[in-house]
Symmetry: C2
Subunit: 501 residues, 2 copies
């Protein structure tokens, strides 16, 4: 068969898969933003139909033939990257039997239900059987996909292709060692109390919107809405939506969520959707890289002293005379206080939560940790790693939904995001030494242009670590993140990084 | 093949068609309520894919086989009604070639574009070639579907199955004759001026919401939003959405639209979706019957004296001290003033706009009216029928979008809706003589329960005229509508209906 014709047919198929994916996205977005409570069962039916249709298209033997023809042809870089990415998806989808897919979907639904119920009754034993089942099925699935690699490596392919367990283990170990002296140095310092003022929803909406627009989100190709759990979804070209949540008791809670989601959305808006339609490449290179963009804007920019100077200068317009000034904002945004809950963690202790989950997941996969003894293992890990004791299982191992969805191997993405963000920030400092002066003036467009060139415009052309190597000369390393954390928090708490050995 | 198994397979297929239809509905709703301008092309791609998928499922020969098996079996009333309805859809979808479907879709897109352009330049000749093409293709399509019947009859099957051209012609003729004396009697009376006060959007939102909830719309299974063109869409069980539009200069404009859409939505919420899933019967029996529900609430209830007593009593809570009282509201809602624009027409002259379009459509179908001479034919018709001369073609034959979408035969639904609504109101008066006393107290639940029993719960089990016959003893007749109009408007203008010959 003629390569050009095969390519055209392939692009039409992948384009359809992309469109089906974007419809799944709309169904999910609408469910969280608009769906009346009575519409739940109908929405489940709609989502199941699209997901089934998408699975049928993805596992169509004709796509397999096209992939085979194209794999053997001489292709340009975009074409071969496309074939690599779609081959991975095709393999995953076809190697897992329909029965196993059905069993997994069922176990996920049940797992989520039992997780909710276990949280309500603060009783892990209600969730344990589902968790065991999800673990078994995850292992079975991974072995069906590639029995030559470890289960955890196969799982990482879903979320962060290009990484592997051994490399992550090494990275986490060195990050852990690097974080200990910083935590030792600032732990026990009195945390700065939250500002007690209540800010109106209207004032916060207007301030949040001003930040979103200043960062450069194009609202003629996107939306900002409100939902219980903030999230971002790219629904295809010209349609990227974020949601956030405001809290009248905490200005930073809403702002952090908004800046985080804006970071994700800027990445989505920068993907080359028009030129790479039907290649599967107009997507984030990995979840970790996606997370790097949200963390870059939320943490590196959004908690910086320079940003707070600007924010403090515009805040009174939106919040009135009670608006906090730059000093207070900077302190509010950078409290460090190790706690039991990941999503409330500060920039410094956050990664310890991830390391704990990574080690527990590996323990579960290898059988070293029995599911039934997970509560003790969890508490032990938290005592050792963060020096805290969760108040009950709901604030402990039932805090995250990921395992209830069977998403083992997802957590490392969060720390990879922090590492990538710090590496990008360090490179940006080199290439644009005065960028924090722009931030202080509320000018972010040069920074966004830089991220577009370095990261967004490359979509999924390379695996994330490879793309990062091409930008900053390294895949992921902990040094830039440690530098950044010492710099910001050491400075705030008045401590210095000890000279390295 | 075993009938029971055939039925189960058939239900699964129809259920999938219903779900695909509801996804099309969500894509359309979101487009009008939420879609960022940049997302247009992507949305078109999504809609085209779902519509193509739906067409493939509907024309699957396997569905034809199942329909054949079931047509020959002994079935209960629900099953045979389902087979009748789906047979019609299957026949329509399979008898029209893919080329013709594509040509029609293309002509619709072009027609809409050219209609926009013709309106902008107030130049009908820009739209004329598209209109000719749409007319040709409509005729070709209708002949492919059923060459034994007239084109207009085949078209009516899409919108109002159970009606036909001859019956409509007779009905319109007698309606026309009946309306003339009323118009003669009240034409020339000074129209009551609109209240000049400006009402805030917030106040109007809250008043509109109070009306929607009082009518009985269940907002835990529905939504009320705002869009440029008000509309209603049923997105499946538990998810019925309406939009409306508010105008600070006209309280009645927003309220009418809201009550109209609420009427549609109450019908949608009353359809037996759960029990009849997968039968194709949990739908409105016809567009005319759908329209009857919106007109019933908007006009019969929503412009009544009793309703205005209640509305006047709650209006100050929402609009403050400037709120109009019942007298003024009643007058504002019932101005009669023949004009050139259908959607601004009052209850009395409205149907003349429809008769004009019906006659022009028949003229175009038969070739008696050439498309090129349509502007003259239109103006002539309006002069004779409504005694008005449209200011230019934009306020004339370019005012409606229907023909630009190739929807010939749609307009009669509006008048059928008015007739059905009046017949239902007349029956309601018989069965529940004190219902206007309830309306005056803002109590609408007995009326809604009655409509649910008489109309909503029957879905598409019968054709609309048949269902109406079973409820009020007649398919459609003009007498109840004429009675109603004389009663309300004769009363307001102080004239009496002449004794019939």
């Amino acid at each position: 068969m003629d390569i050009e014709r095969a390519w055209d047919e392939y692009v039409a198929t992948v384009s359809e898969l992309e469109t089906l994916g974007s419809i799944e996205g709309l169904l999910a977005w609408d469910q969280q933003v608009n769906l009346p409570v009575g519409g739940g069962a109908n929405r489940a039916r709609q989502a199941a139909l699209i997901s089934r249709t998408r699975h049928l298209r993805l596992t169509d033997p004709r796509l397999g033939e096209l992939l085979e023809i194209l794999s053997e042809a001489e292709l340009g870089p975009v074409q071969s990257a496309s074939v690599r990415v779609m081959n991975r998806q095709y393999r995953r989808a076809t190697r897992v039997s329909a029965e196993l897919v059905a069993a997994f979907t069922h176990a996920q639904a049940e797992g989520f239900q039992q997780w909710i119920s276990a949280r309500q009754h603060a009783d892990f034993s209600l969730f344990a059987p589902s968790l065991k089942r999800l673990l078994e099925l995850t292992i079975e699935q991974a072995q069906a996909i590639d029995s030559t690699r470890s289960v955890y490596d196969v799982q990482l392919d879903i979320f962060d292709p290009g990484t592997n367990t051994a490399a992550l283990r090494e990275m986490f170990e060195s990050l852990h060692q690097g974080l200990l002296p910083l935590l030792d140095a600032i732990q026990g310092q009195t945390p700065i109390e939250q500002h007690g003022t209540i800010f109106s929803v209207e004032g916060q909406r207007s301030l949040n919107l001003a930040v979103v627009e200043a960062f450069g989100l194009d609202l003629s190709s996107g939306r900002l809405d409100y939902s219980e759990h903030p999230f971002t979804v790219g629904l295809g070209q010209g349609d990227v939506r974020i949601t956030t949540r405001l809290d009248t008791h905490s200005l930073m809670a809403g702002l952090s969520a908004t800046m985080h989601e804006t970071g994700h959305a800027l990445y989505e808006q920068g993907l080359p959707r028009a030129t790479w339609q039907g290649t599967g490449l107009a997507q984030a290179a990995s979840l970790g890289l996606h997370e790097s963009q949200s963390r870059f804007w939320e943490n590196y920019i959004g908690r910086s002293r320079a940003f707070m100077e600007w924010l403090g200068s515009i805040a009174p317009v939106h919040l009135g005379s009670k608006a906090p000034d730059a000093d207070l904002l900077f302190q509010m945004a950078n409290r460090v206080h190790a706690g039991a809950i990941r999503i409330h963690a500060d920039e410094v202790s956050y990664n310890l939560h991830i390391i704990a989950r990574f080690e527990l997941e590996l323990g579960m996969m290898s059988g070293d940790i029995e599911v039934d003894s997970l509560p003790e293992a969890w508490n032990e890990k938290y005592r050792k790693m963060l020096g805290v004791q969760p108040h009950g299982v709901t604030a402990g191992l039932l805090q995250d939904v990921h395992w209830a969805h069977g998403m083992f191997g997802y957590f490392p993405s969060y720390t990879l995001g922090n590492l990538y963000a710090a590496s990008l920030a360090s490179k940006l400092k080199e290439e644009m030494p005065t960028h924090m002066e722009s931030v202080q003036k509320g000018e972010f467009s040069d920074i966004l242009i830089w991220l577009r060139e370095q990261i967004h415009s490359h979509g999924r052309l390379m695996e994330a670590p490879e793309l990062m190597r091409s930008v900053v000369g390294e895949g992921y390393s902990v040094e830039h993140l440690l530098d950044h954390l010492w710099d910001r928090h050491g400075g705030l708490y008045g401590v210095q990084r000890p000279a390295s050995d």
